[in-house]
Symmetry: C2
Subunit: 82 residues, 2 copies
Amino acid sequence: RALARMGNELRCQCTDTHSKFINPKFIQDVKLTQSGPHCQNVEVIATLKNGKEVCLEPTAPWVQLIIRALLAKAQSNSDTLL
Amino acid sequence: RALARMGNELRCQCTDTHSKFINPKFIQDVKLTQSGPHCQNVEVIATLKNGKEVCLEPTAPWVQLIIRALLAKAQSNSDTLL
């Protein structure tokens, strides 16, 4: 999905989203951006371990899974520390 | 929880996490960082609308809720566009 909102400083950051699976081991971090006046979509931007930034399709099941897996991992890290 | 890992370039970004509730309307984006050789914890860093960055406690229920709410919002945006 491509976004055509351009020409003002505050706009969507993703002009296109990647919906093909990316192996989580190549993903360094995932940023979820609120929708708002600058952009009507929630945007999900992954930084890969090679430094590349990729817009992910937030509705793709594997994207939702990766985010849930990160949350679950955070939870289990904390359990280990107790 | 404070982290003491210091002295090398690649280390945890959060030395402390914020576990008190922050109203989602003040949150611009939320970044989830993979654990790895640089840091044993999954880190959750929120950028507030005033530009301030805050480390969130990934295991706090409200933090998990905010992330799930963002995902759900992304899903419903996409439904509206269909």
